[in-house]
Amino acid sequence: MRVLAALSGGVDSAVAAARVRDAGHDVTAVHLALSSNPQTFRSGARGCCSLEDSRDARRVADVLGLPYYVWDLAEQFRAEVVDDFLSEYAAGRTPNPCLRCNERIKFAAVLDRAVGLGFDVVCTGHYAQILDGLDGPELHRAVDPDKDQSYVLAVLDRDQIGRSLFPLGDSPKAEVRREAAARGILVADKPDSHDICFIADGDTKGFLASHLGERPGHVVDSDGVVLGNHDGAYAFTVGQRKGLGLTVATPDRQPRYVLSIEPTTNIVTVGPREALGVNEIVAERPRWCGAQVVSGEVFAVQYRAHGETVTATVHVDSGLLRATLDEPASGVAPGQTLVLYDGTRVRGSATISAAL
């Protein structure tokens, strides 16, 4: 196969490309330039935007003997991921930009261009498995539960899954690091990236404030009593407990959590932990990794990255997905993605619009 291997400059994508090359495929490496204003040699390694990452990716390609190119996707990335990130926060939701990037950039713009240029598949260092199912390729969780990234890939449809390779899905991270070192890959001990790649210093709140401006407003309880002030409702996430800026002590001395964010009135409502519980999640824009699910099917649903799953019965009706939970869940934030699993298999996803 002709394989386009995306190299981020990190250890995972390097080992993924090496494995595919060793399997005898014709591999070409690309580094995706996602920032039009890369920061020079910022400290640490945080994903995919720095000059240092692009240099690391080039060195990986050198060591593996792969042709290497940089694809400039900064414009699409800004329009599809960064702008969307800002407008979602401005609308009181909590987006996951990695999912968005996979949906619109890596497995769309990049994959389409690769196919157009004559490649058969795109290979990345994501931790997830593609297994042959009865009806075609299926997306499954990685064997390493700590590294599993199937959640952020749950926006791929069957065609996209069929044109993807995730060679690390069957390996624990420690093994991947050992393999990188054994192969002489220089980034073997580079730290994992956890932060949002386009927020260099990890300060999401500061990033939002600098782009959306300060919008002071009130933090209230469910009766509308003002408990404090904030600089912008967009900086909050449903379920958040820390940094609420409450100036009035709560009568029960118990911590308060964000229950809702109302962008039009700029009001953040907080309440006790019990008030966070939801029994039903409504989500829009469903995407299916294979066949569409049938109303009444039961899944383990996951409503945030690295979160627990809850058993739920799912109904799909006119583009809306309703998941009725077996037990209440807390911290369900609109804008996050609801992913449906049966066992390790990913069946689909939808963007959470409401939690009831």
Partner: protein, 395 residues
Amino acid sequence: MAYLDHAATTPMLPAAMAALTKELGEVGNPSSLHAAGRRARRAVEESREAIAAAFGARPSEVVFTAGGTEADNLAVKGLYWSRQKERPRPRILASSVEHHAVLDPVRWLVEHQGAEVVWLEVDSVGRVDARQVHEEIASDPESVALVTVMWANNEVGTVQPVGECAAAAAPFGVPIHSDAVQVAGHLPLDFAASGLDAVTLSGHKLGGPVGVGALLLGRSATPAPLIHGGGQERDVRSGTLDTPSIAGFAAAATEAIDARRSREATIAALRNELIAGVIEQVPDARLNGDPRLDEDHRLPGNAHLSFPGCEGDSLLMLLDARGVHCSTGSACSAGVAEPSHVLLAIGSSPAEARSSLRFSLGHTSTRADVDQLVAVIGPVVERARAARASTAAQV
């Protein structure tokens, strides 16, 4: 393999390799007073004389540097600084199609030292008009620190009227510099006849080693140094002279000039076949730069073409996979290709600018190189168009 990127760097000439390796085996700092030092000094001075002879300069007008970029920086920043001594002269006249080795020092002076830049406009082939040089200086002669106009453009190959520009600046006593990195060894270059005050040369673009160059500097031009510490080169440039590289550079310049006429005629003929062959395969490909292909107007080895509906970096990748090496001619930071400022200056849209490739031929080019490109360019363009179409449909 078809290497069609000689404007980026060209293989070293055998005479240059011989001179370079001979000197690598010797010892001696040209500034030392003993016999070993005198031997090295002699090698440097003979090289200086050879380069002066090759380019119509006096030996004392050759200031060796560690390459073309340093020579450009010395000319632009050094002349700007020295011109501030008597009175403030904030204005720099620079063509809008300069190489980054000139553009970036100019921008740095604007951002950090209060300089004001007047970008000289170019026409649709990328050529400046010497009348604008005259008009801009005449409007306020005392305010102009220097003029800089490249001799020929590295991307689209257009030869500039540098003699006319020098004549326009001369009556006002404004120093004028020209980056001749793409010209030296390839087109006639007579420093004395040009009327220019400073001219940049680079070793590796004419078959010498990388990391050595020179600024031809008229004796009345006194740029402030960029690099202090010993004053080895006319007190304008310091640092131990790199005898092996200088010897290699001089040997290459001598050979390039001796063989220039016949070699460049061959290169130009191949280049013309390349352009005709590519356009035959891709009828809507468009030649950028001056359509007059003689050496008064265009670098002999340069062919710069736009392929509508393609991304230049897709084309480059597809050609690379088929053994054809060329350039998108774009500036990179973290490898992010920006649309060429040269193409934007000649009126191309960003999309047109991104659809372009530079093929540049040199002394090792053969008809087989051209044939290899012509054989693959049709299908490659077709595929690049399909890739762009599918991406555009998605986003």
